[in-house]
């Protein structure tokens, strides 16, 4: 029993000491290790976690806990996806925490341009349907709740339709409940509005 504990403490102390200086929020996870591991992820999720494919979500600027929670749920089979489930199956908790630390520290950008009409309709709908209650006033996410501001347009539509149809795995029932009140027209407006809520990428990123 002492062997078990001792090894863990020794390993993690070393990791903690070496990489604490990179950490912005006392998160002992290793950003550099996360970046190295992220090479598989960026094939779909884009450079620095800013997706360039509308069906695949951006990971940049997510709360770290939202990323690690999603990965955990894929690995444990609570959320299923033909691409993500096998990838997550290979990750340890430490890998997940490191990936989360890396992507959460990257800046979110979005190339999506919201229609003028939805720029004006969006905020009221986001308030009416309580998006901001959990995702935050700027929809930047909090703890395990993902940032949706500047998320990929098609991805947002797919998730909301999935929650409404109760085919999308739901942690605690809140999203299925929230989406049950949405019409499909609302889903399209909200997704268009929320997808545009991020800075445009700089020339270098593009």
């Amino acid at each position: 029993m002492f062997t078990f504990l001792h090894q863990n403490i020794t390993t993690s102390t070393i990791v903690g000491v070496v990489f604490l200086c990179f950490s912005t929020n006392n998160y002992a996870a290793n950003i550099e290790a996360g970046k190295a591991k992220a090479q598989t992820c960026i094939a779909c999720h884009g450079p620095n976690g800013n997706s360039i494919i509308s069906e695949f979500p951006s990971l940049s600027g997510q709360p770290a806990q939202a990323i690690s929670t999603a990965l955990y749920r894929y690995r444990e089979g609570n959320r299923k996806n033909p691409i993500m489930s096998p990838i997550a199956a290979e990750l340890t908790n430490a890998d997940m925490n490191n990936l989360a630390a890396y992507f959460s520290a990257e800046k979110r950008t979005s190339t999506h341009i919201t229609s003028a009409q939805n720029v004006s309709l969006g905020p009221e709908l986001a308030n009416k349907y309580n998006c901001t209650q959990c995702h935050g006033p700027q929809m930047l996410g909090l703890q395990h709740i993902p940032r949706i501001a500047g998320q990929q347009h098609q991805y947002l539509i797919m998730q909301l339709r999935g929650f409404k149809a109760q085919t999308r795995s739901d942690m605690d029932g809140n999203m299925s409940s929230a989406a049950s009140a949405l019409t499909d027209a609302d889903i399209v407006i909200l997704s268009d509005y929320i997808a545009g809520l991020a800075d445009r990428p700089t020339a270098k990123n593009e």
Binding site: M1, R73, C134, Q143, S177
Partner: protein, 404 residues
Amino acid sequence: MKKKIIASLILTLAIPAFAQQKPEEPPPRWLQGRSEADAKSTLHPFNPKLTGADISELQISKLKLPAGFSINVWAEVPNARSLARGSKGTIFVSNLAANDVYAVVEKDGKREVKKILKGLTAPNGIAFLDGTLYVAERTQIKKYENIEDRLDNPPEGVLVVDGLDPTNGPGHFWKYLTVGPDKKLYFNIGSPQNITIPNYVQGAIMRVDPKNGRLERYATGVRNSVGMDFHPVSKKMWFTEHGRDWMGDDKPEDELNVVTKEGENFGYPFCHQGDIPDPQYGKYASCDQFTPPALKLGAHVAPLGLHFYTGTQFPAEYKNSLFIARHGSWNRSTKQGYDVMRVTLDAKGKVTKYEPFLTGFLFDEKGDPPMWGRPVDLLVMPDGAMLVSDDYNGIIYRVSYKKP
């Protein structure tokens, strides 16, 4: 047969309610009952880190205990919630957010953590009786016989009772499960919302006889209890109860209750902490109709597991002391709880002392998050040490005593 009749009776009651289920209140569920005055509140619950904490992140050295006591990390189990011990020494650990049950076994001096059940629904409640592990999920209790001989190849669960989430409400669907001196299983069916009039089996502590599935209501007017234990001498059930949210920072206080007769009513949703009528439902009843708490535990402290200390390792004065794990407040602007408290009782069962035992998880009472760990359940080991689960970090700690 009886089991089937009762189960189907509950289902019959449940189906129309489920079919009619419309979200009466907008999500998230924890906002239900919030008044206009609190509309701008930024208070929110805290969620566990499912991938666990790196042990180096745990601020073990910040934890405080009375002289002679010490604490160390005993095992890492994702989202560790309830603890139960098998007769052959296996420690079973449930979780809530990750839908699994784990077993911790010691083999050749090494501790091993195994996932034994997966894909369950909020399997927060676990209890062990006569070789069998019972698991309380959102809607049902299942049993796993001879589990300790089959940890690597666990059997399919066999249904004990179902229909335990009759309205599929968004709140308090997780169960605590324990075994009474009568070898029956005791568990909560929480209120489906923060504040509402529950149906007959909700807002209650139920019991089921695992031999025949017979279901009875043991106590009522209980908003949600996630901790129950029986006094080693009086055999009475003591339980923790969470008070409602959104009545301000200091109201109402959470409760420590004791059941003195079957079917006793503890007041929810009409009366809180024994003496505060609910702003909405209080007019339908009077507080003096209900059993008041044995002790007010503090507002929003979220008391979970409670256990009488029956070991011999701690000093003699700890014998039959009641330990209470307080998961910690979210619905309060200045946070409190996040600790393990000790309650002492006199020979008549009257509370004589309520004092901190294990503190130091709370580091910033105005912070977001305010804590680095959250105690959930307690288990007294055969050697007299006490295990404490922490679902936020996925850690089980061991508290032990050595004469200073």
